[in-house]
Symmetry: C2
């Protein structure tokens, strides 16, 4: 069994496909048995989504052209709609989003700090890579939610995040400055490592480590494969 959290160097062999948005693979496995309780799921996913929005806002403010700003404003609107879709589910459950998100803010704020890019290009890649991975992860996990929530929450999470708009911006940056590619490839590896850890911390793990890992491993294999396709579509080595 592969443990994604300690392996080094080895890379999964995945088919080189077109960008994810053009050929979204069906999810073959899920994490339903490790899904946390509803409010933990909603609080954590909603606050992560708010963090993604904050990062988009910062990236928008740094954008080098008015056109890039305009594109990011459209991505930001999609991201906010996703956040508000999740907080609407919190309210439907009779709770206040602020209070439900509160327990998860310290760890996620720390994740935000470690995934903050050094410049506009790194910020842009971070927005794309982290949102893509976390959307995929929470869609997997949503299948374990109570049945009156699972479908609606999955629909919110599957909604367009503007990933193709972000990917196009990253590709343009690389086209204009080919030296950027190796730096962004390294940055992508760092991002996915930190994002896997924050995702994993959401799982309701049992005392049985072997059985947990057996469930986690195939899902993270899929998530990494999707990440690799995402990097590939940018012309970057994952």
């Amino acid at each position: 069994m592969v443990n994604w959290f300690s392996r080094k160097g080895k890379r999964a062999e995945v088919p080189r496909l077109r960008p994810r948005s053009e050929a979204e693979p069906a999810l073959k496995v899920d994490l339903a048995e490790l899904t946390p309780d509803l409010l933990t799921f909603l609080g954590k996913s909603a606050y992560l989504q708010l963090t993604i929005f904050e990062n988009l806002g910062r990236t928008l403010a740094l954008a080098p052209t008015t056109e890039a700003k305009e594109t990011l404003s459209r991505v930001a609107a999609l991201s906010l709609a996703k956040h508000h879709g999740l907080t609407a589910e919190i309210r439907r459950h009779g709770e206040e989003p602020g209070a439900v998100m509160q327990p998860f803010t310290a760890a996620i704020d720390e994740y935000q700090r470690t995934t903050q890019g050094a410049d506009w290009h790194e910020e842009l890649l971070a927005c794309h890579i982290t949102a893509g991975f976390l959307d995929d992860f929470f869609v997997h996990l949503a299948s374990g939610l109570p049945s009156d929530y699972a479908g609606r929450v999955a629909a919110v999470l599957r909604a367009d995040s503007g990933s193709e708009l972000l990917a196009e911006q990253v590709r343009r940056s690389i086209d204009e400055n080919t030296l950027l590619a190796s730096r962004l490839a390294m940055w992508g590896r760092r991002l996915v490592g930190d994002t896997m850890l924050v995702a994993r911390s959401t799982l309701a793990l049992s005392a049985n480590t072997v059985s947990d890992e057996a469930r986690i491993e195939p899902v993270f294999t899929e998530l990494i494969a999707a990440h690799t396709r995402r990097m590939d579509a940018l012309g970057l080595t994952a």
Copy 2:
């Protein structure tokens, strides 16, 4: 005639009313003859609205509580919707928003720098005060747009900006820290001065300074009165 851009110290006597959102006064005068061409109007108002959104994003990131972050996310969504309502009009006219906004970015970026608060409280007040003033100003100016645009654009500009949500946050900050009131009152004066200048720079002034001032003066008197009511509703001296 009063020239709002050089007067010192004197304050207009205005009735102390409830918050603007509860008792929105009808606009009694307008600036139709000083309205610039359609694309200048749309480019400038859309980029100012994007700047307001950027400021909200920064304020959200600084918010001291998860609840305040959540409130600001709702205001940010309203602000983005307003920006996209204006860029939709630019596209309807067959132009790209980025290119149409471009000529106005340098001056508005400078305005953004001078109205950036020193802390969360100042940022929050800036979001409220600048959006309130600029919404009012562009609604006045919209009456001079071509008739197939004027109504739709005014409807976009009149849409809810979340001003009551922002006002409530400012009032809470002041309740928790009464020393803040005098600092914020001063900051409000600085904000309205800079905002009046950026608004004024949008006007299509003629060579006839006297006739221009005769048109501008009653409108700015109304805008200042609305600003004073807005400050008053926060318990702050304008």
